[in-house]
């Protein structure tokens, strides 16, 4: 099953992520986001972080989840290639994320992401699909 596809947007970049469940779509959105930043094939699973996010609704949860990962990339240079969502109820999410600290000599960095945005942000619980545009 395809995990995500990129959306073209004039100034920015976005993606639609899919899953067998909404939780998986959120995990795949994270995977897609880090794939925009770097070539994940060269990233190993040597570090992990457990992340908990609580928000008012499923849209804010997606925004906060992705921005939390961007924050971790910014302060710890962590590139995550796998996120296991262990708890998900549409307002809260707990995930353990696996990846590696970015090493510019080995990891091909494509582009930085400033933030996930609310623009066109969509969470579709029927289709287990999420859509997000990033400010790059």
């Amino acid at each position: 099953m395809r995990r995500y596809r990129l959306i073209e947007h004039t100034a920015d970049t976005g993606l639609v992520a899919y899953g067998k469940s909404l939780a998986e779509a959120y995990a795949n959105a994270a995977y897609g986001m880090f794939s925009i930043i770097a070539d994940l094939r060269r990233v190993s699973e040597v570090e992990s972080r457990t992340i908990e996010v609580n928000e008012r609704d499923k849209e804010s949860l997606l925004f906060a989840w992705l921005n939390h990962l961007i924050y971790l990339f910014d302060v710890e240079s962590l590139l995550f290639k796998r996120c296991d969502v262990t708890l998900f109820d549409g307002k809260s999410l707990v995930a353990t994320c696996y990846g590696e600290k970015c090493d510019p000599s080995r990891h091909h960095i494509r582009i930085g992401i400033k933030s996930a945005t609310y623009h066109m942000l969509t969470v579709d619980p029927e289709k287990n699909l999420v859509k997000v545009i990033f400010d790059v």
Partner: protein
């Protein structure tokens, strides 16, 4: 993306109005500055819809404005200007953007192209080494926990007091690089954590350092006041913002405002337009935090300026005095400002959001430095990587029509993916080098995304601002060396 099919009324050759009746909830009409030719690109995407959405903001006056570099953004269009009354209006973090105080500064030199040309490769190398750039780049400055708060309050002044630059630099920086009313307590720990190691870094995306030469001078008297003396004169252009600190502040406060909007019974068509009354606790907190991020960005450009001067003098074998390297001006193009403007014949205090738009105050305005009192505030409009950039000045008409605002750059017309399909980074590099432009970048695919073809022609963009009179063209520069983040 679908073409925009909303109503557009021609006001004159360069002004196009979206009537207030287009959508129920618009409080003012929209107004787009563009030539007919540019309009075709603009209507190809949903930027005009965003102009209409911004018109929903409570307290907005006159028009929801779009400068000629308008393109499809998130929430606000890029190139958007929205002025709201502070007494009953709102402030929207989305109207400033994630990169708070992304901006541009221009330095002049006493050197001519002929003197720099033989050393341009060495100069670009030295600049690339001297100024950290790229995704995840960390600076050479190690801030202590308490020091970050000083940077957030004192901005450029902090940098100058720590040996990064000259006291004169503050005079020719918008807000003197130190916006009052910045309160670091309103900035989250995460924002500070992101910002602290990034002070003095260029970042990535469309941020760059450029060695340029004066290509043409259109108003010699005005140019002279700025120290732009003749064709071939070497200039340095710096374009960057507030890095992770600003991105985090924006994200933090969009959440704060979304959570509080119900309380104020505000309804906007796009969550990215989340906003709260300027005078509410949430509005005041955002403004205090945004000012911190703006000061961080000014300190950032100030530190970079210092290393640019060092590299330039070392490679050219000149002392700073000989080289010149005075700061012509520094402008913010993602910011919200509290300003006084005439609204229907009365003075009104407004919160002016400029999202990809530049302040363009006229001669005689009290916020314009004494040096430029007779000519107006310099406005710096970078083009794309391979093309020209412009120096303009603000005008009285900008005060009347656009709350003292003009465009900020070329404006994208093609997505990053589409740009990459047009050309590969390596081909672009070759093309630029064949035109005498030396490029250094750590990111070849990023280079392709910033290809000239992905942007509107900046000459057309500034042409519209000049023809309409919302700013005047003073000089044009062309690049000879580029460092891409």
């Amino acid at each position: 993306m679908a073409k925009w099919n909303g109503p557009l009324e021609k006001v004159d050759e360069y002004r196009w109005r979206i009537p207030q009746s287009y959508k129920q909830g618009m409080r003012v009409p929209g107004l787009i500055y563009a030539s007919r030719q540019m309009l075709e690109n603009i209507l190809d995407e949903q930027a005009p819809e965003q102009v209409a959405n911004v018109a929903f903001l409570p307290g907005i006056v006159h028009y929801s404005l779009a400068m000629p570099d308008i393109h499809w953004g998130y929430g606000f269009p890029i190139g958007g200007v929205a002025a709201v009354r502070i007494k009953d209006g709102v402030v929207s973090p989305g109207g400033v953007g994630f990169d708070i105080n992304c901006g541009v500064r221009l330095l002049r030199t006493n050197l001519q192209y002929e003197e720099v040309k033989p050393k341009i490769s060495a100069l670009v190398d030295a600049l690339y080494q001297g100024v950290p750039s790229g995704v995840g780049s960390e600076g050479k400055i190690r801030l202590k926990r308490q020091e970050i708060d000083d940077v957030l309050v004192r901005g450029s002044r902090w940098a100058v007091e720590h040996g990064f630059g000259r006291p004169d630099d503050l005079v020719t920086t918008e807000e003197k690089g130190e916006m009052p009313g910045a309160n670091p307590e309103k900035v989250s720990g995460r924002a500070k954590e992101r910002g602290a190691p990034q002070l003095g870094t260029l970042g990535s995306g469309n941020h760059f350092l450029e060695v340029a030469v004066v290509d043409n001078i259109y108003e010699p008297e005005t140019a002279k006041v700025m120290g732009i003396d003749q064709k071939g004169q070497v200039m340095l252009l710096i374009h960057c913002g507030s890095r992770g600190l600003g991105h985090q502040v924006a994200g933090d406060y969009i959440k704060v405002m979304l959570d509080a909007m119900d309380e104020y019974r505000i309804d906007v068509p796009d969550r990215q337009l989340a906003c709260c009354p300027v005078n509410s606790p949430q509005g005041k907190d955002y403004i205090a935090a945004m000012r911190c991020a703006a000061n961080f960005a000014w300190a950032n450009r100030q530190c970079i300026t210092h290393w640019v001067r060092e590299a330039f003098c070392r490679v050219l074998g000149k002392c700073e005095e000989e080289a010149g390297l005075e700061l012509i001006y520094d402008v913010a193009h993602n910011i919200a400002k509290i300003e006084e403007h005439d609204v229907d014949g009365k003075k009104e205090t407004l919160c002016v959001h400029r999202k990809g738009a530049t302040r363009a105050f006229p001669a005689g305005h009290p916020d314009v430095p004494a040096k430029y009192a007779k000519v107006g505030q310099p406005v710096l409009i970078p083009g794309d990587m391979g093309r020209v950039s412009y120096v303009l000045v603000g005008t009285d008409l900008a005060m009347k029509e656009t709350f003292g605002s003009t465009c900020h750059g070329a404006g994208r017309v093609k997505s990053r993916a589409a740009a990459k399909k047009l050309a590969r980074g390596r081909d672009i590099l070759k093309d630029l080098e064949s035109r005498g432009i030396v490029v250094r970048t750590g990111n070849m695919s990023g280079l392709a995304e910033e290809a000239s073809q992905a942007y509107k022609d900046v000459t057309e963009v500034v042409g519209v601002t000049h023809s309409t009179g919302i700013s005047r063209i003073v000089a044009k520069t062309r690049p000879i060396g580029v460092i891409k983040g």
